[in-house]
């Protein structure tokens, strides 16, 4: 079922949501678009392809305090669990690739085995309104790995720009509830047809096909191809920190005198301190093992664990890498990228 709303009406509706909810929108900054709190001014989405930083930051922030503690002489230590700081949130303008990335992260932080209370609470408190991509950015490759740039997966509501309106599709029950009420209206069969046409299987390869390539064709752990791959990588963390699906973290203690806090922060498999053991041994001592970890985690371990590839084709790693390490090229070299697809 497709709904529709005039753009002006949508913005008025969104503006009203600011009573009681924080609304984050893609905001143009000097360095690029970032999700920032909306003050209700005019949205400037003219050159918006995607935000510089991925949306994972909202649910799994770059760093957060897990607990605080205090130790006093001759007293037992006192631990205070950091209470939740989440507030009702609306994310507007999330791209479908990033919305999908949150679905992927749910496997890790809101899975059967582990539930991360901080993450889960933020998820529960957030409404995701995504904005489908009518045009792809220069480094986007979602379609090549089976992701539809007009998919509502991971969103509560998907909006697709059409003339002076947004066509809307729900991706969750919460989203559907909203769409069933004014100012949203059910679309006529004409709009329904337009949506279907726009949405006519834009993914050039389905995810399952790509996944089976990744699972079956990935070279051995000790294959010499890894040697070739890693040379130019300088092991900075751009690709992992700007990746919407990378989710490794580190936990460290920050103490001052008798008080301290336990902090969780993003970690990166690119760093030499990643998986460094207390003994000084590191099972991933050089760039070769680290690049291998990054690729294998996304395209092999994650699909083995959760049945889905941990890459959404947003292309941030390609666009921002200082040495132009291109994951598409890497996959091609590894025999995992389908040959007939041009870069």
């Amino acid at each position: 079922m497709i709904y529709q709303i005039r753009k002006d009406d949508f913005l008025s509706w969104l503006k009203k949501q600011r009573e009681g909810k924080k609304v984050l929108v893609p905001t143009r900054k000097e360095e690029g678009y970032l999700f920032l709190p909306w003050v209700g001014d005019e949205l400037d989405l003219r050159e918006y392809t995607n935000t510089l930083k991925p949306v994972k930051d909202v649910f799994f922030p770059q760093w957060e305090t897990l607990i605080r503690y205090r130790v006093e002489k001759e007293k037992s230590g006192e631990i205070v669990e950091e209470t939740s700081r989440t507030e009702p949130l609306i994310l507007f303008g999330v791209r479908p690739c990033d919305a999908k990335s949150i679905k992927l992260l749910d496997n890790v932080f809101d899975g059967e085995k582990y539930k991360d209370p901080y993450y889960c609470q933020r998820r529960k408190n957030t409404l995701i309104i995504s904005l489908g991509c009518r045009e792809l950015g220069p480094t986007c490759f979602c379609q090549n790995i089976g992701i539809n740039p007009l998919s509502s997966e991971g969103s509560d509501i998907l909006l697709v720009e059409f003339e002076d309106r947004y066509l809307a599709q729900s991706g969750s029950d919460t989203g559907l509830e909203i769409l069933e009420q004014a100012p949203f209206t059910p679309a006529e069969s004409k709009e329904q047809k337009i949506f279907d046409e726009l949405n006519g299987n834009p993914a050039r390869l389905n995810e399952a096909e790509f996944r089976s390539l990744a699972l079956n064709n990935m070279p051995d752990f000790n294959d010499s191809v890894w040697e070739k791959l890693y040379q130019k990588c300088l092991n900075c963390g751009i690709c992992t920190y700007l990746c919407p699906t990378c989710h490794c973290f580190d936990i460290s203690e920050m103490t001052l005198d008798s008080e301290g806090k336990r902090v969780r922060s993003w970690d990166s498999c690119m760093y030499s301190s990643f998986t460094l053991h207390g003994s000084g041994h590191n099972p991933r001592p050089t760039g070769k093992e680290r690049i291998r970890q990054r690729i294998m985690h996304k395209f092999n371990y994650f699909p083995q664990n959760y049945g889905v590839i941990a890459c959404v084709g947003c292309g941030r790693c390609v666009a921002e890498c200082p040495v132009n390490f291109d994951v598409r090229e890497a996959l091609k070299l590894l025999g995992v990228w389908k040959d007939d697809l041009q870069l």
Partner: protein, 285 residues
């Protein structure tokens, strides 16, 4: 931009070095997959030399790769890469005789503001492209306009600006990892026993990281600008670098990476070293 003649000379030289067995690998640039970016390339088969490029996308400082390279290598350098090599030689990090340096004038169409060293200062062979080679070592000539402008601001304004810049940082360490002068085996930023700085992007941690990064390359930075180009968040890293270049220039009349026999001011002690930061200027009676 570079004429095709320069490129073919570079390719020919690389091919010859591999053919004659003088080197096992040539470090240069190949075409990238993103517009405006060429990508570092490690060529060990002479047939592959045709893939070398020398264009506007070759902005990265390739000297970084020499630190890790174990094979006998040739490297294709522009002005600032060559200066980084000189710095690494003077700091005993690489051996000059293990390296074949192919120099060529910087191919970037928009050169960095104030750049005085487009042509390599050190090389085994210089690919002549007809451009005038300029004698360098002209510290006094260089004006760091960004620093001079910044210094006109009030203390509050300066603080606000620096806080604004470093608060963008996501601590990806790209500035550190692309920098040929950053080669510590263990970086203070990642030490956990003891932990020198927090792993958060809190303003305090970010500020400490950036100040230490800048101070650590004082007297060693050749102002190639790789750090700033690598930064995905657009942090103005060069302002701090320029400030320290100015300080080292005025205190020691020194700029890094110009001559292989230059004495590093921060590695040596002299009785009459200037110490204006001490009380009463720290003068010797």
């Amino acid at each position: 931009m570079t004429d095709t003649n320069t490129l073919s000379k570079i390719q020919e030289k690389a091919r010859r070095l591999l053919e004659d067995g003088k080197v096992e690998v040539v470090i240069g640039f190949a075409a990238g997959t993103v517009p405006g970016k060429s990508t570092p390339s490690f060529i060990s088969a002479k047939e592959d030399c045709e893939s070398l490029v020398w264009d506007n996308g070759c902005s990265l400082n390739l000297a970084k790769y020499v630190l890790k390279e174990k094979r006998k290598a040739a490297i294709i350098v522009k002005g600032c890469d060559s200066r980084s090599l000189v710095n690494l030689i003077t700091e005993n990090q690489i051996k000059r005789e293990n390296l074949y340096i192919i120099g060529a004038a910087c191919p970037l169409s928009a050169s960095c503001a104030g750049c005085q060293v487009k042509v390599p200062v050190i090389y085994d062979e210089l690919i002549e492209d007809g451009s005038e080679i300029r004698e360098v070592s002209t510290i006094a000539e260089r004006r760091y306009d960004d620093v001079l402008e910044f210094e006109k601001l009030s203390a509050e304004e300066r603080k606000a600006y620096v806080y604004g810049e470093v608060s963008k940082c996501i601590r990806c360490y790209a500035c550190r990892n692309v920098c040929p002068a950053c080669y510590c085996k263990e970086c203070f930023a990642e030490k956990s026993l003891p932990q020198w700085i927090g792993k958060t992007t809190d303003i305090g941690d970010n500020l400490i990281f950036h100040l230490i990064r800048a101070l650590h390359v004082a007297g060693r930075c050749v102002d190639c600008g790789s750090c700033q180009r690598a930064c995905p968040m657009g942090v103005n890293l060069r302002l701090l670098n320029h400030k320290l270049l100015m300080e080292v220039g005025s205190l020691y009349q020194f700029e890094a990476g110009l001559k292989e026999d230059q004495i590093l001011p921060l590695n040596t002690y002299q009785y009459d070293d200037p110490q204006p930061f001490l009380a009463k200027g720290g003068g010797h009676e």
